[in-house]
């Protein structure tokens, strides 16, 4: 299999990326929490970030080498990019979007496009307008458009991230079919460990702009090397806790929580809590099914790509919540804001 190599350094605003990694497997997963720099790295590979310096080689093809003065422009890199937001062109129909992708491949792209339409089951959708599509359909069209451009590799940026669970289950088989039937090199970004294990031949774990591990997904994602980087597990909150009898636990830093199942008192456990599973409320809620309602203070609120990562000070254990930027706006989330964090017992999962 052909070699891929990334050695990139640079800053994007306050963010520093410093990555050096190589792999030969066909399907690589770039794995890490929100804010780890996955999308920034992907954009650098695409050639959209000229302030990143270093080397980029994708599937045996050199695209960038600052030392040699090589910088292949975006339009000549031949990569099939499927952005996190499908970015379907709203002035074109589904067919128009697919043809838009096919142009680079020319006449050779026709069989490719037909194959992509078949594998992704888009035949029925061709004459639709893109604003009539569901979230899952939009992603399939974006993927087909990338495939129709005869790319030398496909770059997918969290293709399942914004989909709800049933929709994920419907889109995932298509991704696996593309992976298995088209045989293209793939770079797949995700913050979901299950997805990483399912899709990837190799996983590159990114945290705070650096590669912290690289290897077979099954071995690496739960290894001791990665576990301390709690955020890299896609479980942004990892809590060391001890059972207090019944369903009550207390974390090592003194945060008292209710978990879904009764545990023998004194048992030690490690709980994972995903940032998007913490609800934030401006005012105390009345009677509510969620078992954990904490009065917290916002320590900081970082906005990025339509989302907001909210660091919470609970007085004991710090927590990270993720909400949409619009929600952060509506709740006026800023340092010092006094709010309530609502956590379902079911969201606290033993690791």
């Amino acid at each position: 299999m052909s070699q891929s190599e990334l050695a990139l350094r640079g800053t994007a605003g306050a963010f520093r990326l410093d990555v050096e990694v190589a792999w030969t497997e066909r399907v690589a997963v770039l794995f890490g929490p929100s804010g780890a720099g996955k999308t920034t790295l992907l954009e650098a590979i695409l050639g959209l970030r000229r302030n990143m310096r270093g080397r980029v080689c994708v599937a045996g093809e050199w695209l960038e080498d600052s030392a040699r003065g090589l910088f292949v422009p975006v339009e000549e890199r031949g990569l099939g990019w499927v952005p996190q937001d499908p970015t379907l062109l709203p002035h074109l129909s589904v067919r128009g979007n697919l043809r838009f992708g096919q142009r680079r491949a020319g006449a050779d792209g026709a069989p490719l496009l037909d194959r992509a339409i078949e594998v992704l089951e888009l035949g029925e959708l061709l004459d639709r307008r893109v604003d009539e599509l569901s979230g899952g359909e939009r992603r399939r069209v974006a993927l087909a458009r990338a495939l129709a451009s005869a790319p030398r590799a496909v770059l997918l940026d969290e293709p399942l991230a914004a989909l709800d669970l049933p929709l994920r289950a419907r889109v995932l088989p298509f991704l696996l079919r593309v992976r298995d039937e088209l045989g293209l090199p793939m770079l797949y970004i995700t913050h979901d460990p299950n997805e990483a294990m399912l899709i990837g031949d190799v996983a590159v774990v990114l945290s705070a702009g650096r590669v912290i591990a690289r290897g077979a997904p099954r071995e690496i994602l739960w290894s001791q090397a990665v576990l301390p980087f709690a955020q890299a597990l896609g479980v942004e909150n990892v809590l060391e806790a001890r059972a207090q009898g019944g369903t009550r636990v207390e974390t090592s830093r003194g945060l008292k929580l209710v978990v879904p199942a009764e545990l023998p008192a004194g048992a030690a456990l490690r709980l994972g809590l995903r940032a998007e599973e913490i609800l934030l409320a401006a005012e105390p809620l009345g009677l509510i099914s969620a078992r954990n309602v904490l009065a917290v203070t916002v320590a900081s609120c970082e906005r990025e790509a339509g989302q907001a990562l909210v660091h919470l000070d609970t007085g004991a254990e710090p927590l990270v919540a993720r909400v949409t930027a619009a929600a952060a706006e509506a709740l006026s989330l800023a340092r010092g804001a006094k709010i309530y964090a609502v956590i379902k017992a079911q969201s606290l999962r033993p690791l």
């Binding site: 695409l46 339009e75 990569l79 142009r103």
Partner: protein, 229 residues
């Protein structure tokens, strides 16, 4: 004044307006795109410069044009080389109309382009489209409503242009006398009926242009460049 006179003046006004928009089109598009996509020092100053023809008394704009492009003006040889005799011809009326309409046009273009999410352009580039092809196939189609809106605004502003045109083109019946100039001459001559007839022609022209554009804007699917999940 006969019906043929009204028709001739209306045709001349239309021709002046269309040529004015054609002259302003590329500069407005280019400047609008540049302002929408680039951050630089002195951007506010450039913005103010563009707004000038809108803010100055049109007569002053006309005088400026005359000084620049008149027989002794620095730009006169350029127009001569192009084979265009500018001062006191309908060309001058077009340039004047284009210039006073330009701020509206360029602003509308800037606004329209800044509403197109750069993500769409990046995506097109990644699929092999050059900057130019991306502009033509993605940016412009997505911004077309705003661009058209700006063109109509500038066109209708140009139709009513009086002060700058009077100075740089003169009021010459049959040659440079557009509807706006014609109305003024009729009032001067005490021909109220003639002035009113020309007013009606002006009104119809502006209404027709705006109705056509509105109709097109309403028919064209709304293609605002905001991505959605």
């Amino acid at each position: 004044m006969t019906g043929a006179d009204v028709l001739a003046m209306t045709t001349l006004t239309l021709r002046v307006g269309v040529v004015a928009i054609a002259l302003a089109f590329l500069p407005a598009l280019g400047l609008g795109f540049w302002l929408a996509r680039r951050e630089f020092r002195g951007k506010a100053f450039v913005g103010a410069l563009i707004a000038l023809p809108m803010l100055l008394p049109p007569v002053a704009v006309g005088l400026g044009l005359l000084l620049l492009c008149g027989r002794r003006g620095p730009l006169h040889p350029l127009f001569q080389a192009l084979g265009v005799e500018l001062p006191f011809t309908w060309w001058a009326a077009s340039v004047a109309a284009g210039l006073v309409g330009f701020p509206f046009f360029a602003r509308a273009c800037e606004q329209a382009f800044s509403e197109v999410e750069p993500r769409f352009e990046q995506l097109a580039r990644s699929l092999g489209y050059t900057r130019g092809a991306t502009f033509l196939r993605v940016t412009l189609p997505l911004a077309r409503r705003g661009v058209l809106y700006g063109a109509v605004l500038a066109f209708t502003r140009g139709l009513g242009e009086f002060g700058a045109t009077a100075v740089v083109a003169g009021i010459q019946p049959g040659r440079t006398e557009t509807l706006a100039l014609g109305i003024w001459s009729r009032i001067e001559q005490g021909d109220d009926a003639g002035a009113l007839a020309l007013c009606a022609a002006s009104f119809s022209l502006a209404l027709a242009a705006t109705t056509l554009a509105e109709g097109w804007l309403r028919r064209a699917p709304r293609a605002r460049g905001t991505p959605r999940p």
